[in-house]
C-alpha cells in the first residue's frame, strides 16, 4: 500500500484545490483550518462523532449483495453500500454532523448551508435542530420550485430557506450566496458546505467526515466475501459520497475506483454535468478544479435528471485522482440512470436516489463483461423517495404530493 497524504498544508491536491477566495474570507477560513486541525485528532471529538453516527444516523450502514440483479446480469457480483438507510436518507448526514459539532465547538450559534436538490439542506436543518443551532439554507429559486417537498421538510425542521435569484438560480448560485452571507456574518456564523468542494479546508474536511463510508467497507467486505472488491463505484456531483467511499481504498491499487458523473442528455449534446469527463481546469468556488465553462471562462448551465449531480464543478481531490490515473471517471446519461433506477426497484425492492442510480447504471454496464467471481461495490448514496415526482413525470404519470392538487386535477 502506498502512503497517501494529500492535501498539502495549504489545501493543494497537486495543482488543484487551494484557497482562491477574496481577502474578506481569508481570516474565517484560517480560523476554520486551525480549529479543524485541532479537532480532527481530538479523541473526545472523534468519540462524540462516532457516538452520533451510531445512535443518531444508524451506522454502520450494511453492505447488501444484490444477488438477483447480479444473476440477472450474468457477470460480476454487485454489492451495495447502503447509505440510503441512514437517517435523512443519504450520506450527506455524515458530513453535516461532523461540521455541526465543529460549529458548536467554535461557539457559532448560526449555521448556513447551500443546497441543490435539498438533500444537504435537509441534512443541515436536521443537525441544526438536533444541536439547537439557527439554520439558514440558500437554494436557487429554480430548485425551490423543482424540489418543493424538500423545501417543506427543511421548514418542518425549523430552517429558513432563502430562494436565490441571481445567476442561473441553481446550486452554484446558492453556494455564492451562502459565501456572501458568511462574509457578512462571520462572527456568529458557521458555513456547512455540502460536498468536497469549496476552499481548503472544506474538501479535506468533508472527505474526512464521509470517509466513514469507506472505512466500514474495508472491514465489511472481508467479512462478507473474504477480500476487498475489484472495483468501487460511486456517483459524482461535487464528489462527497465518492470521496467518502474511495478514500480508504486509494492506497490499495488492486481496487479500481470509478466515479460516475451525470452525462445528462449525452456529453456530446453539451447538456450534462460531467466536469471531469468533459470539462477543463479552472477556478470556481474557492478552488482549482475541473469545470464546465465556455471559451470565455464563464461557468455555464449544467443539466442532469438528478438535481444532486447538477453542479458545474467537482471536488479538487477528484481532479487530482483523475489526472494521476488513480481513479477513472465516466459519464452516465439520464436515460441510463433512469433505467437503472427502475431495474433496482423491481429486482431488489430498493428505490435508489437518482444520483446513486448513475453508479448503479455503470455497474449494470460493467458486470456482464466481467467474470462471475469479480466483485463491484457500489455506493448507494441515498434513497429515492425525494425523486418520486421527477420519475413519475418522466414516465408520463401524474404524481401528486398534496390532496388538494388531486382534487383540482379531477375537475
Amino acid at each position: 500500500m502506498q502512503m497517501y497524504d494529500l492535501p498539502d498544508a495549504r489545501g493543494h491536491f497537486g495543482q488543484y484545490g487551494g484557497v482562491f477566495v477574496a481577502e474578506t474570507l481569508q481570516a474565517a477560513l484560517l480560523e476554520l483550518k486551525v480549529e479543524y486541525e485541532k479537532t480532527r485528532t481530538d479523541p473526545e471529538f472523534i468519540a462524540e462523532f462516532q457516538r452520533e453516527l451510531k445512535h443518531y444516523v444508524g451506522r454502520p450502514s450494511p453492505i447488501y449483495h444484490a444477488k438477483r440483479l447480479s444473476d440477472d446480469l450474468g457477470g460480476a457480483q454487485i454489492y451495495l453500500k447502503r447509505e440510503d438507510l441512514n437517517h435523512t436518507g443519504a450520506h450527506k448526514i455524515n458530513n453535516t454532523i461532523g461540521q455541526a459539532l465543529l460549529a458548536r465547538r467554535m461557539g457559532k450559534p448560526r449555521v448556513i448551508a447551500e443546497t441543490g436538490a435539498g438533500q444537504h439542506g435537509v441534512a443541515s436543518a436536521t443537525v441544526a435542530a438536533r444541536y439547537g443551532l439557527e439554520c439558514v439554507v440558500y437554494m436557487g429559486s429554480e430548485d425551490v420550485k423543482r424540489q418543493a417537498q424538500n423545501v417543506y421538510r427543511m421548514k418542518l425542521l425549523g430552517a429558513t430557506v432563502v430562494p436565490v435569484e441571481s445567476g442561473s438560480k441553481t446550486l452554484k448560485d446558492a453556494l455564492n450566496e451562502a459565501m456572501r452571507d458568511w462574509v457578512t456574518n462571520v462572527e456568529n456564523t458557521y458555513y456547512i458546505i455540502g460536498t468536497v468542494a469549496g476552499p481548503h479546508p472544506y474538501p479535506m474536511m468533508v472527505r474526512d467526515f464521509n470517509s466513514v463510508v469507506g472505512k466500514e467497507c474495508i472491514w465489511q467486505m472481508p467479512e462478507m466475501i473474504g477480500r476487498q472488491p475489484d472495483a468501487v463505484l460511486a456517483c459524482v456531483g461535487g464528489g462527497s459520497n465518492a470521496m467518502g467511499i474511495f478514500y480508504d481504498y486509494i492506497g490499495d491499487e488492486s481496487v479500481r475506483l470509478i466515479g460516475c458523473e451525470a452525462g445528462g442528455e449525452g456529453v456530446e449534446t453539451g447538456r450534462h454535468a460531467a466536469s471531469l469527463s468533459a470539462g477543463s481546469a479552472g477556478i470556481l468556488h474557492g478552488n482549482r478544479t475541473y469545470l464546465i465553462q465556455n471559451a470565455d471562462g464563464q461557468i455555464i448551465d449544467t443539466h442532469s435528471i438528478s438535481a444532486g449531480l447538477d453542479y458545474p464543478g467537482v471536488g479538487p481531490e477528484h481532479a487530482w485522482l483523475k489526472d494521476s490515473g488513480r481513479a477513472e471517471y465516466v459519464a452516465v446519461n439520464d436515460e441510463e440512470a433512469l433505467a437503472a433506477f427502475h431495474r433496482l426497484c423491481r429486482i431488489e425492492g430498493i428505490i435508489p436516489a437518482l444520483e446513486s442510480s448513475h453508479a448503479i447504471a455503470q455497474a449494470i454496464k460493467m458486470a456482464p463483461t466481467m467474470a462471475k467471481g469479480k466483485v463491484l461495490l457500489v455506493n448507494l448514496s441515498g434513497r429515492g423517495d425525494k425523486d418520486m415526482a421527477t420519475v413519475a413525470e418522466r414516465s408520463g404519470l401524474q404524481f401528486f404530493c398534496r390532496a388538494s392538487c388531486q382534487q383540482n386535477a379531477k375537475t
Binding site: E23, Q26, G167, D296
Partner: protein
Amino acid sequence: MTLLANSLASTKPAGIKAASAATRIGETFARLEAQKKKALVAFVTAGDPSREITVPLMHAMVESGVDVIELGMPFSDPMAEGPVIQRSSERALALGVGVADVFAYVSEFREKDNVTPVVLMGYANPIERMGMQAFGDRAKAAGVDGLIVVDYPPEESHDLLRTMDSVGIDVIYLLSPTSTPARIEMVASVGRGYIYYVSLKGVTGAANINTAEVAAVVARIKAKTDLPIGVGFGIRDGETARRVGDIADAVIIGSRIIQEMENSPPGAAIDNVKTLLQGIRRALDA
C-alpha cells in the same frame, strides 16, 4: 506565511517603489499628492448596461473628476459582489461581453486618453481560461495599468504576479477588516500600484461605513507600506467620501454609480453619473 511573503517580495525589482512614478498609476498618485488632493476611483462593469456606453462613460467619468478607472470584467459567479454589481455583471454577460471586449474598450479609451490609469477588476477563471501570459500581453497592449483579481490572494498568485510584473501591469491586492497582521504584511510586500482596503465585512454595495474603524486599520496598513491606500465598499455620497479622503489616499466608488445608471431613464445615464461624480469630487476637494 512570512517565508512566502519574503519569496514573493524578492520578485520585486530592488530599489523600485511599488507605486513607481513611471507608470500611469504611479504618476497619478504622485501628481495628486503634489496637489494635496485625494484620488477618486470609479468602478463600472464593462459593457453594462450596453456595449456602446462603456467608452463614453469612461471619458465622462474622467471629465467629472475621476482619477482612476476600475473596469469590471463580467463573471458568471461573482462571489464577493452584492446585488447591484451582480446584476451589472449579469446584464453584461447577457450581451456576451467577455475579456476580449474589455480589452477593446480600453484600447478605444486610450485613443483619446493616455493619462488616466485603467485597472481591470474581476475573477480568476476568465484569466486562467485565456492563459495568464496571453491575458497580460493583450491587457498591456490595450493600455491596461493594473489588475485586481478578487479570488487570487497573494498565496495563490505567484504566477500572476510574475507574469504581470513581466508585462508591466500592477497587481493590486485587497485587505479587509478581518485581515490578520501577517496578511497585512504579506500584501504590503507583494502589492503593486495601490492597496484596495475593503472597508467592511460583507459584499460590495453594503451599508455605510464606520470611518473611525477604517481610520484605525488604514493607519496599521500605512505603517507597513508606502503604497497608496484606496478605501472602497459602502461609500455612497460626498460626505462619506470626504471623511474617507481624510484617512486614505483614494476613495473608491462602485455600486452607487451602477445604481445611478439603473435608476436613470434611457439616455440620461451618463449625465446622471457625471452629476453624481462631480458632487463627490467637490466634496472630496473641499
